[in-house]
């Protein structure tokens, strides 16, 4: 897994719980914690860190990873503004992940192992993202989707109709965009 995910997790933990918490988590997970954005680290290190964080907070690892996704999105926007041009909306951003962002990531980090997304667009306000990854981290994708909604100031709903963790061979995330300022229970065609 790319180091940028680790440095971002480091920031989140330090911002939320303080420097000592991250230090504790590293000690508990027996990791040296020397992370550099451009380097690559074992997936097991991330799992150990999330495990330690779960033990510490009493929150389920899946929920922590989803929160991490939400935290990571604006950080990405700050670091890579080119992927967030003015006037973009969440749907456009999510559509650009596979064919634009991941292509650029591959240029910077040819060794990066990235998930794949296939898209379906059943309606103008709907988007289906079919997620495939050996890591089966669909909850991180969920967090990033929620983060995108928050970043672009939009309301959206999503559900997974298929999921690795339900025995399927991919995850199917069905998203319904409800525009800015509308409430989730109004104009909800996302059934």
């Amino acid at each position: 897994m790319k180091g940028i995910v680790f440095t971002c997790l480091n920031e989140m933990v330090e911002d939320t719980f303080g420097v000592a918490a991250w230090d504790d988590m590293l000690g508990q997970a027996h990791l040296d914690g020397v992370y550099t954005a451009a380097d690559t680290y074992a997936d097991a290190e991330m799992l150990a860190l999330v495990g330690a964080m779960s033990d510490r907070t009493g929150t389920a690892p899946a929920d922590l990873i989803r929160e991490f996704g939400k935290y990571m999105l604006p950080k990405m926007a700050e670091q890579y503004p080119v992927f967030f041009p003015p006037g973009m909306v969440a749907r456009q951003f999510l559509l650009s992940v596979h064919d634009i962002i991941h292509v650029e990531v591959k240029k910077l980090f040819p060794d990066a192992e990235l998930p794949t997304f296939q898209y379906e667009m059943p309606a103008d306000d709907q988007l289906v993202m079919v997620y495939r990854s050996r890591r089966q981290l669909c909850v991180l994708a969920e967090g990033l989707i929620e983060g995108a909604a928050a970043y672009f100031g939009e309301q959206l709903r999503y559900k997974q109709s298929q999921c690795y963790h339900q025995g399927d061979d991919h995850c199917r995330i069905e998203i319904c965009f409800m525009g800015p300022g509308t409430r989730g229970d109004e104009n909800d065609n996302c059934q």
């Binding site: 440095t7 000592a20 914690g33 020397v34 550099t36 380097d39």
Partner: protein, 329 residues
């Protein structure tokens, strides 16, 4: 309440954090260094490949030219053989004439001798013989013919010399510097080289208006003209016209070479400048002529355009920038 042990623990955390940050920074610097080195090596490799490609391209241009000249060689040989043939025949006739004239000169010498010795009989006999020979050998015609044969031979030799010079302008290696040239000279030289390809079925209509000089490599630009002229000739099946026009705009010299031959189907027009694209039978074309021509014109900062209608003919327009010394004037 802050205790000494708390402060100590905080200090330990900060020390470890600092160490991690420092180690991470060193690792990042190492990665940056590695990337920079990789980038340098990749750039170096790219530069070598570029140089090798440029060298290959140069060789390709040269090979294409030699292949074209090779294909034209039978025609060129014919163009040289023809004048050589009649010059040889003329020289042989002149040799016979020299024998007759030399005999006459000897007889005149003998007349002079006889007159000097006062031998009127001998001189009169010799003069009668001279008159008979002059009559028999048609000396007046012979003298007139000598001049004609000499003029014709000189013309033939001049033609051979021009063909050889034209050929030299094609085959010399492309290492010399660019020159300011009048493209009309290049067109004339090229026509001499390709003449045998055109003369049997084409009327060549030259409208070579005065044009400013162009800074170019004459051998390369002639190669472009050669390709276009040979193509024009090959497009004409039985009888037709190849029209060569020169003109100029504010910044460019424009050479147009058109034929009223078979024309090029629309689907082939876009592939015309693609390497190895040819519609000619195997052995008749390298498929490189137009792509090499395109490269040459582009290298000289010019453009080459084609328009064609099937059944009506094709026009190639080459535009080359006017020499900076000319445009400054």
């Amino acid at each position: 309440m802050t205790t000494a042990s708390n402060i100590h623990a905080d200090s330990d955390v900060l020390t470890r954090t600092l160490r991690r940050e420092r180690a991470a920074r060193k690792r990042a610097e190492q990665l940056l260094e590695d990337k920079s080195r990789e980038l340098y090596q990749a750039q170096d490799e790219l530069r070598k490949q570029y140089d090798s490609l440029a060298e290959t391209q140069l060789q390709l241009v040269q090979s294409e030219k030699m292949a074209s000249v090779g294909q034209l060689s039978a025609g060129i040989a014919h163009e040289i053989n023809n004048p050589i043939g009649f010059v040889t025949s003329n020289v042989s006739t002149l040799a016979d004439y020299v024998d007759v004239l030399s005999d006459l000169v000897q007889r005149y010498d003998r007349v002079v001798q006889a007159v000097a010795q006062g031998d009127a009989n001998a001189s009169s006999q010799e003069l009668e013989e001279i008159a008979r020979i002059r009559e028999a050998e048609e000396i007046d015609y012979l003298l007139g013919d000598c001049r004609k044969l000499l003029d014709e031979s000189l013309d033939g030799l001049r033609r051979v010399r021009e063909i050889v010079q034209s050929l030299k302008s094609f085959v010399r290696l492309e290492q010399e510097a660019d020159q300011d040239v009048d493209l009309r000279d290049g067109i004339e030289a090229t026509l001499r080289v390709v003449w045998n390809e055109l003369k049997y079925k084409c009327t060549v209509d030259k409208q070579l208006h005065a044009i400013p000089h162009v800074r170019c490599h004459p051998g390369e630009i002639n190669q472009v003209f050669m390709n276009l002229l040979v193509n024009a000739g090959q497009a004409i099946d039985k009888q037709g016209t190849v029209r060569i026009t020169t003109s100029s705009t504010e910044a460019h010299v424009v050479v147009s070479i058109s034929d009223d031959g078979c024309g090029i189907p629309e689907e082939n027009l876009s592939k015309l400048f693609t390497p190895f694209f040819t519609t000619k039978p195997v052995g008749s074309g390298t498929g490189l002529g137009l792509s090499v021509s395109y490269g040459i014109v582009e290298k000289h900062g010019g453009t080459i355009e084609v328009s064609s209608t099937v059944g009506e003919g094709t026009t190639f327009i080459v535009k080359l920038p006017i020499s900076p010394t000319m445009s400054a004037e």
